[in-house]
Symmetry: C2
Subunit: 740 residues, 2 copies
């Protein structure tokens, strides 16, 4: 049956994106042909003019007016296209109906765009969702995930079988309520919280541009893929999308193509009630190329033409506004908010079946549709085979680059990389941990080819510049210093995209610790989606001084200690800072936050990499029998205060242990024996000191101990004065010790 529906002559090879040539349509003068099927097996570069039209036994469709000038319309294949689009619609309708939960409206409206993307445009290999050179697709309007699941299902991904569609939104299914990269191979990033996906896509496109600039050669475009994203009205309203889009325009990310599903409906009704700006004009102001497809419901050729135009614009990202009807096909609910986020209900499902001429049972995929889509399995395999062959040739000619790229793809770290980290002794000069952090970053940039990052306009305060690199810009994309501007949220979401592009990319980003508040939504998604992002958060306490309470974190340490799957590290000196970086790099499935001081701190005796790895450890203890009278626990800049207080108390003959609790999460992961060895239950006289909320310290100081912290907002004054006024002093620790 595939034969009957797809026996269409390709008028020109370039007219058949389904052939999955490894070039884009926008580059007609250099084509590497697919190694599979009826096509040339040659890996040679040919120009279009050298190619004579050949019969194409694949891919349906009225061949696109967008792509070739003149083609015959073929009603049969047009019918198959319609059928495929309706298959997508009904898979979404049926899955939401069965779950009695979900969002049918977007999949119904965007099915034509989805079909064109996954059937005609995207290059991917369904049997290896992680093939490096695949095009990336992000559904920023993540609530419409049934669109993506239906497409993955049709395309032959093993992650979304029929039983997965039937388990939509159920316990332990691979089709959760919003797209989750860690649940469903084929999903690139985790979306749902609006605006994140478009910003992730900016990160993915940045990664492609960066890697292409580093690894492509005049004779080898070894990194060459697009990033496509669908975003909705909600994404457009979120500030994070404007931040990231402003950067995408600034960076000239020409291979980023965003489709704005302009359906005029959000949860509260017509967007008219809250969203009347001119979106395309805004994107033009941001430096994007913009297009408007006025009929996204049936204007297939318009969509194709827009994509062609977008690909032809190489120096700017493109926003294609696609006006669609939410819930297209539902006679009573289309174009209304009621179809956005609820099942249609059986009566309306029936009415929609009738309206769209869909006689099939739920979850049915017609045989001709199935057969048509089945081609993607061999196509995808061929694409990867072809790329692998190309990469093999590349490796012969450019061994070093190929090895590096291989590591970036696999995530393997260069042997001995850790040795690059600086080591300190108590005699090393006192320094702010933000400066020590810069030493680490610069040391690591020499040995970690995937380290890339920067600050939200605070590079000179966060100390995050990589000195051996210049700025990543539209004209210098191989560089590794990212200048995010004052856009913390966009920065965080972009880093998530970079981290998910390739296992070996290690994005870091920086701002003042207090401004994690601006980017918390993206940090949470890093934690949830297993993204190794390193957050370099300086000015981590009242120790920043005069800028005052708006800039002084108080609750932030605790607020991240509560967040699942993230490491909150607060190093006290050079060795702990280097140790924190080591931990951050090695923890590939979770992000790490490094809270770093603005102020100078001494290099302490007893701190170590190994200690950091355990999260909590003894830095000094003068007890004879490992059962001290008193345990002082500190983190970061207050470990010095604990150590000083211990020195004084020891002069009075007290047996005092000082513990650094640099990461609570890592400490909790240690064995009970180890934890008991650091904080023996017998010793109930415990004092913690930390320039942050005392809330939560009950866990370690117990009901008989005392937590010295800050349970109010900060103040604007020199740092030393605030420390003193707030009682964060060795004297206060000593007084507390005496009172216990």
């Amino acid at each position: 049956m595939a034969a009957s529906s797809s026996m269409i002559a390709c008028n020109a090879l370039a007219s058949c994106p389904g052939c999955r040539t490894s070039t884009s349509l926008a580059q007609p003068d250099r084509i590497f042909l697919s190694a599979s099927g009826t096509h040339l097996n040659s890996m040679e570069s040919l120009t279009l003019r050298q190619l004579t039209p050949k019969p194409c036994f694949r891919r349906l469709g009225k061949i696109r007016a967008a792509v070739v000038e003149s083609v015959d319309s073929n009603p049969a294949t047009e019918a198959l296209l319609e059928k495929s689009v309706n298959t997508i619609r009904f898979l979404a309708i049926d899955a939401v109906e069965k779950a009695n939960s979900g969002h049918p409206g977007l999949p119904m409206g965007c099915a034509p765009l989805g079909h064109i993307l996954f059937d005609e445009v995207l290059r991917y290999n369904p049997k290896n969702p992680y093939w490096f050179n695949r095009d990336r697709f992000v559904l920023s309007a993540g609530h419409g995930c049934m669109l993506h699941y239906a497409l993955l299902h049709l395309a032959g991904y093993d992650s979304v079988k029929e039983e997965d569609l039937k388990a939509f939104r159920q316990w332990e299914s691979r089709t959760p309520g919003h797209p989750e990269n860690f649940e469903t191979p084929g999903i690139e990033v985790t979306t749902g919280p609006l605006g994140q996906g478009i910003a992730n896509a900016v990160g993915l496109a940045l990664a492609e541009k960066h890697l292409a600039a580093r690894f492509n050669k005049p004779d080898f475009e070894i990194v060459d893929h697009y990033t496509y994203v669908i975003l909705g009205d909600g994404c457009q309203m979120e500030g994070v999308s404007n931040e990231a889009s402003s950067l995408a325009g600034h960076w000239g990310l020409g291979k980023l193509i965003a489709f704005y599903d302009d359906n005029h409906i959000s949860i509260d009704g017509d967007t008219e009630i809250a969203f009347t700006e001119d979106v395309n004009a805004r994107f033009e102001a941001l430096g994007w190329h913009t297009i408007w497809v006025k009929n996204g419901n049936t204007g297939y050729d318009d969509i194709r033409a827009a994509i062609k135009e977008a690909k032809a614009v190489k120096d700017k990202p493109t926003l294609i506004k696609v006006t669609t009807t939410i819930g297209y096909g539902s006679p009573n609910k289309a174009n209304s908010y009621s179809v956005h986020g609820s099942a249609l209900g059986s009566k309306e499902v029936d009415a929609t079946r009738k309206n769209l001429g869909w006689p099939h049972e739920p979850f049915h995929v017609p045989e001709d549709v199935k057969s048509h889509w089945s081609q993607h399995i061999s196509d995808g395999a061929a694409l990867e085979t072809e790329w692998n062959a190309k990469f093999a040739k590349y490796g012969k000619k450019y061994k070093e680059d190929a090895d590096t790229l291989k590591d970036l793809i696999s995530g393997e770290l260069p042997a001995g990389w850790e040795k690059a980290l600086p080591v300190y002794t108590p005699e090393s000069p006192a320094d702010a941990t933000r400066n020590l952090s810069q030493q680490c970053l610069n040391a690591l940039s020499k040995v970690l080819p995937g380290l890339i990052g920067g600050s939200a306009d605070l590079a000179s305060s966060n100390m995050t510049l990589l000195k051996m690199h210049s700025d990543f810009r539209s004209t210098s994309p191989k560089e590794r210093n990212l200048r995010f501007g004052v856009r913390e949220h966009g920065m965080g979401a972009i880093c998530n995209g970079i981290a998910h592009h390739s296992h070996g990319l290690i994005p870091y980003c920086a701002t003042f610790f207090v401004f994690t508040d601006y980017m918390r939504a993206s940090i949470r998604i890093a934690a949830l989606s297993l993204a190794r992002v390193i957050y370099v958060m300086t000015h981590d306490s009242i120790g920043l001084g005069e800028d005052g309470p708006t800039h002084q974190p108080i609750e932030h340490l605790m607020s991240f200690r509560v967040m699942p799957n993230i490491l909150m590290l607060r190093p006290a000196d050079g060795n702990e800072t280097a140790g924190a970086y080591r931990v951050a790099v090695l923890n590939t499935k979770r992000p790490s936050i490094l809270a770093l001081s603005r102020q100078k701190l001494p290099q302490l005796a007893g701190t170590s990499f190994e200690g950091v790895e355990k999260g909590g450890y003894i830095i000094s203890d003068n007890s004879a029998d490992s059962t001290p009278d008193l345990i002082l626990i500190g983190t970061g800049s207050e470990l010095e205060i604990a150590a000083k207080a211990a020195d004084e108390l020891r002069k009075d003959g007290r047996a005092v242990r000082v513990v650094s609790l640099v990461s609570w999460e890592l400490f909790e992961e240690q064995s009970d024996e180890y934890k008991e060895s650091v904080l023996p239950k017998l010793v109930s006289a415990r004092i913690s000191i930390e320039a942050g909320s005392s809330f939560g310290w009950e866990k370690y100081v117990g009901s008989k101990g005392k937590a010295i912290g800050i349970d109010r907002f900060g103040a604007s004054a020199p740092a030393g004065k605030i420390y003193k006024e707030f009682g964060l002093t060795a004297e206060n620790v000593i007084a507390a010790a005496k009172s216990l």
Copy 2:
């Protein structure tokens, strides 16, 4: 000396903004004249045509070409203007130099704009910074606060005396490192974290438009003031500013005038490295009127003309891009990042003094400048007197409205308002607390004239619509339902502006609890700046079910319990929800978050308003002697589970107490006796159950108790299934009880 410099004929009254007529220049056909000075004492409305030019003995300056068509230039007064501008510059330079900390660049660049605003445009009363009908001014680029402090000082505010300038950024000074409304009368809102101020300004302008629509009469413009804001490149880059600006355009806030200090320099250097969008084009896309003043350094008339033009545009907010030189006047540091955030250094201060011809000692205000500015004290008093007289007349004619407006200004609550809150019995139907919240909001909207708010496009999920009101829109600004669109961060910052506009305005805003992550920076500023904002946060746990982990809060309850000066309330049923609203309204100096369930909950026996007020209380106890065997502690939706488990355990003869810990903050504020009466130290068998992080519960369950919670991300599945899989069940509580 004032006389010599200001003896200039006013060609027309409208040409003398210094006369502080209570009308704007843009409203030439209706003028209420100042009751002071040489001017007409009439309160009557006159048209411009009725007025003959009169001599004006006040206000310096070459009278503005922007304002009248033809005037004589007067070098002496022009010199005084320059002197005043340089006074502002040097007050900033000197204060930063003395503190050896701060940001001189913006004040030096924006001094001309600042002078024009505070000397010629703004209507205010220095001796009563809280006069209701003042124009509001917000420095969104809060780091440049020395500009604002210098202007308040010159204008005669008691909050900023010379000694305050000298104590800039010092402990307990009234001139902290960023503008703080709670420290410095004259500062409207707390800024510094970038982008917040412009969004606050949108809230201030919204409040004005709303109150004007409600209270103005054809013969009384009793509410009539502008909101001016200066924002910088950093503010422009932040997503929150785009969110709020999009709403300002949508709402047509014509009396919002924003000055974009376009100085091309941010902390990391030229904005070219990260910010190349076309800002004015973006604002046009957002529905704003835009103007570009190309010479903000010396183009006084251009600035004036721009303001005049902005005032003439009544249906749109205006963005005036003012191109300035950061650090203007500093020969070696102007136009560079080095002048942004550090003291100039004594050498460069000297060079700048020389360059600008400033021979004076630090902090010197020349006598003629002082004398000139001193007029604002009488002008301001006159403005207020005039308005008070007008208000008295208004009150005679429109008593009810005047009484209401008076309450909105003073913050006085109507007597007996609390009685409007619904009361429930255990027999009342089970319901989701989000629905019970809606009952409260609607009940309160009838008795609280200042209640105004809405949701970030989730009104139908958050249940926040006020049924007796319609939507606040550009054409219906007297309505009280705000439609924020999917803009949580903008929403939060706008509510801060509303709260700070008038004591009696009670803004509420809503989204899913998890999306507080998007708006956390604005929530923190609400807490810091003592803003009574009510956050209606529904879908407060895994109980939301299928939407999955991106939508399920885990760490959020704890993350707000750690934040200073905010109430985190998690009511369990109808009485607790109503009690939470009561608390939220009564706590005028801190915001409250209500975490509310999506799922139905029963009305529990024992819950009460009084209990909520205490934060924690006993809802049931079957012990004979008030010393139960076991205490079960729950919050919100899990209080039901605790109650059920208690019932079962009691059947086995156990003496069990059930405690609702609806607000940890309120509970901690109770006396030790009260706390001991609820959680007696003697009873160490304690189990807490809460569908959130167990972190932090050590405080109440102690080392021998057990906290049942969730220390991982959530999952996509029906709510009941997740509760069961995560062990949040009565069975699990009973099992834990038996194991203790």
